[in-house]
Amino acid sequence: MPGTATKGVELAQKLIFELGSEGRRGDSLPSNDDLPPVDPAALFGAAHREAPAPLPEVSEPELFRHYVRLSQQNFAIDLGMYPLGSCTMKFNPKVNEWAARLPGFARLHPLASDEGIQGALEVMYRLERGLAEVCGMDHVSLHPAAGAQGEYTGLMMVRAYHADQGRSPKKVLVPDTAHGTNAASCAMNGLKAVGFPVAESGIVKVSDIAPYVDDDVAAIMITNPNTVGLFETHIQEIADLVHDKGGLVYGDGANLNALMGRVRPGDVGIDVMQFNLHKTFTTPHGGGGPGCGPVGYKSILDPFAPVPVAAKREDGTYFLDYERPKSIGRLRGFHGNFGMMVRAYAYLREMGAEGLKGATEMAVLNANYLRARLGDTWKVAFDTTCMHECVISDRHLKETGVTTMDVAKRLMDYGFHPPTVYFPLVVKGAMLIEPTETESLQTLDEFVDAMEAISAEAQRDAAIVKNAPTLTRLRRLDETRAVRNPILRWTEPAEPTAEAAE
């Protein structure tokens, strides 16, 4: 059987609330006898808790074992390939963690004076300049806490730009392949997302959008490469058309890892875009830490940028510049998620210009290798060179009754995390596969072997695939029931009565 899955001892684990016993401790805090007494009731008022919170009481080893065991029940990028599409890179270099933990970064107080945090301001300033160079923009704001907030910020600046000219166009054109966040960012800004269908080729043509472009268009939001992994070749003409009517072009930078070093969005007509640092600059994905979604923009939008901005004086010192009367204001407390900026900067410097270009080329090469090899067995959705990800479907298995969901479950038995399934919506039974720049040829071949084996199983004995997974700790979960009747809160089981105990 291809793949790397095997068997091993896995320890069962209760919830942490079910462990330990009353009074057990895993910490030892210094005595506070020499501190002045504090009256918590006076300090916290109505928020003061009368009785201690019912927190777990466990020793240090119990605590560690609990979380290590849980982590062993999970699949992680440090364990194996994670071909989830639309997520782009998954690499978190360990050196980033070293850099972000340097005391000079990790222990800064957010209220420290500019003079006391010159090093941190320099990192912010240099990261802004570096990102601006990569995407061909004039400026970058590091404030937004995630890509979605970056979109929101960018559109807020677009709105402020139009308002400053005494206009208030309301429409934002969004192709039907767009990320769901695009429409949400429009709604949050009081703008109306107007969807338009994309031609069968999977890319936006000028003729697709021309009927929608008028004076009421505030912007078009376009992802390049798009969510089906294709390069939008008409981006410049589309930008010209929208610009002619006074609109701006928002570039969703979610897939920038397929362009870095090869194409700069700012050079092909894009006015404003967000970076998702976890998708392009190695910061952890959701759950691995807070996010950071910087916004790059052209000079025409600079008056409206969020404040403060890390700036450099002529004498070489750095300061936080609040001087922007037309600014959309402050988006976040303090200066954004600084730890993510350190990680992204470390990666940027480690790779250098040639390294970033190499990462882009490898991401695209790996995706095309998978597209070509998987295409021998599976139906490839768009039969053309792809960028960083490729789309296949379950179409050739239609007669067997095996669906994309079954294939995803069976992949776990082969030791792979499933790809993104049933997205993009424009492809029926889609599997969106993104190998990323970091997987080796051997790993890619193992993945293809597994996919070919699953296809053969489906045709020979569909039940093998329909009943998967079989090697995982838990068998197939009832996802429908989980959504229809979610139980989100643990409650202590009732004390067994004497009768029940008998």
Binding site: R395, M405, V421, Y422, F423, L425, K428, T480, V483, R484
Partner: protein, 130 residues
């Protein structure tokens, strides 16, 4: 029961409409739509009293696989909403043409109903989808 009941009319967005008395059309999604969606987990419908336009979105349907928009087959005022779907979205899977109905629309123009596809036309349309 035929897969596409003969007394209903159909749209390319996979909604069906049934003509009730007084120019009211009952609306739901077809068994083909249900098959594509998989287990339905949420049906988000507008309040009774709101107006809808033919071919425009009037709600959303969510399944374990995806979220899709619901498009009105005809224009008019929504006079009744199937509140049972809020607690029991599985009715859409179990009985798409019956207990899984979604809204009842008082039609502005009954001719719109007549312009919808009849069962053979819809069946033909579905058979051509990959």
């Amino acid at each position: 029961m035929a897969q596409y009941p003969s007394d209903l009319r159909y749209t390319k967005d996979h909604e069906w409409a049934r003509l009730l008395d007084d120019g009211i059309a009952e609306v739901g999604v077809t068994s083909y739509a249900v098959e594509q969606l998989g287990d339905v987990t949420l049906v988000d419908l507008p309040e009774a009293g709101s107006d809808v336009q033919a071919h425009e979105r009037f709600g959303d349907i969510e399944s374990v696989k995806t979220v899709s928009e619901l498009f009105a087959p005809v224009s008019g005022e929504i006079v009744e909403v199937n509140d049972e779907l809020e607690g029991s979205p599985e009715l859409v899977n179990e009985a798409p043409y019956d207990k899984g109905w979604m809204v009842r629309i008082k039609m502005n123009d009954p001719a719109e109903f007549e312009s919808l596809m009849e069962p053979p036309g819809y069946e033909d349309f579905v058979s051509k989808i990959e």
